[in-house]
């Protein structure tokens, strides 16, 4: 099952490091070249679904307690989330290879 664009970019963002909501939002926007823009509500509804599905986990402690707002919650990619992301990346790679191997028919 292919992941939706917001889910894919959120998982991709968390695959590099643990992040809080604002960091995820900024990273998704940057890594998608401004194509995926999440609002706070959309981000948290998606995060909640990912938590429910066990693709991410919420961290108990904060990575930088001295610098961060204590109200922020951090999220981490779970093993299952990593596996799903890997599968999605592999699927994308296969699709790209297939598209590269087959020359698209020119429209006359």
């Amino acid at each position: 099952v292919s992941l939706t664009a917001p889910v894919f970019y959120i998982l991709l963002s968390l695959s590099f490091k643990d992040r809080h909501g604002y960091e995820i939002l900024k990273d998704v926007q940057a890594s998608s070249a401004d194509r995926v823009r999440l609002g706070p509500g959309t981000l948290y509804t998606t995060l909640k679904r990912l938590l429910d599905a066990g693709l991410i986990t919420e961290l108990e402690g904060r990575s930088r307690p001295d610098q961060d707002d204590p109200r922020r919650r951090y999220y981490r990619l779970s093993g299952r989330g990593r596996a799903d992301l890997k599968a999605e990346l592999s699927r994308m790679k296969d699709a790209l290879e297939l598209a590269g191997a087959r020359r698209p028919r020119e429209s006359s």
Partner: protein, 256 residues
Amino acid sequence: MSGPGRRGRRWAGILYRCAVALYPSPFRKEYGRDIELLFNDLASDPAVPARRLWVMLWRDLHHSLLREHLDKVFGGASMVRDRIPGRSAGVPGVVCGFGVLLIWFTFRYFHVGALLDQSPLGREIASMIWVPLLLSPLLLFAPAGFFGVLRSSTLGGGLWAAFVAGLIASLTVPGDYLMRHNFFPTVTDAIFTIAITAAVCMFVASLGAAAAVVLNEGPRNRFAGGVARSLRGLADALQSESSPRTHPSSRCTDAR
């Protein structure tokens, strides 16, 4: 930052906070503060134009707010706390429908209408009696929707209960009674009346269902929540009495 830009941010912030208040209460309690915090981060970021805040407000309203409510109401992925098979939600509807059917049988086969027609006062009553007769499904519909929601914890369940009750009621009461009294000269008129009655019944039922959804929210209104829980307990007790073989997995469980 320019005056209009600041004003735009301020208004977007106010409206966004109102929008957060519209999320379903379990979600709002869990993430409402995070959403507001994130919005404040964005609003205070000079790189984010005020226009984008408005776009975000619109997008969130139309994407996540609506989706959360639909998920909660129609049994979505995670917002539904209590899941009961849809069939049990139809039980109150069937009961109410049969109540209406009983009224119809009383009038049809015990000739109550004919007895009333024998005296001037009776005729007067007979001419008036179709009003409460038509109202009876309406009165039964709201509880059908209400209990349907309490049983299934979804508006879909309530509407299903209402649909069953409405189907039975609308096909019997107005059709038969009004045709017998020649209030409608053609079948088309009768069908039209049945359709209107069904629509009104479903509307009333959905009001009852919506009331149950609001009451079922719980902690926000402790009294109403208590009443809703009591009614739910009563409905549970009645159902377990009538069907002692109910599987334990179909009982209400709080997932969160």
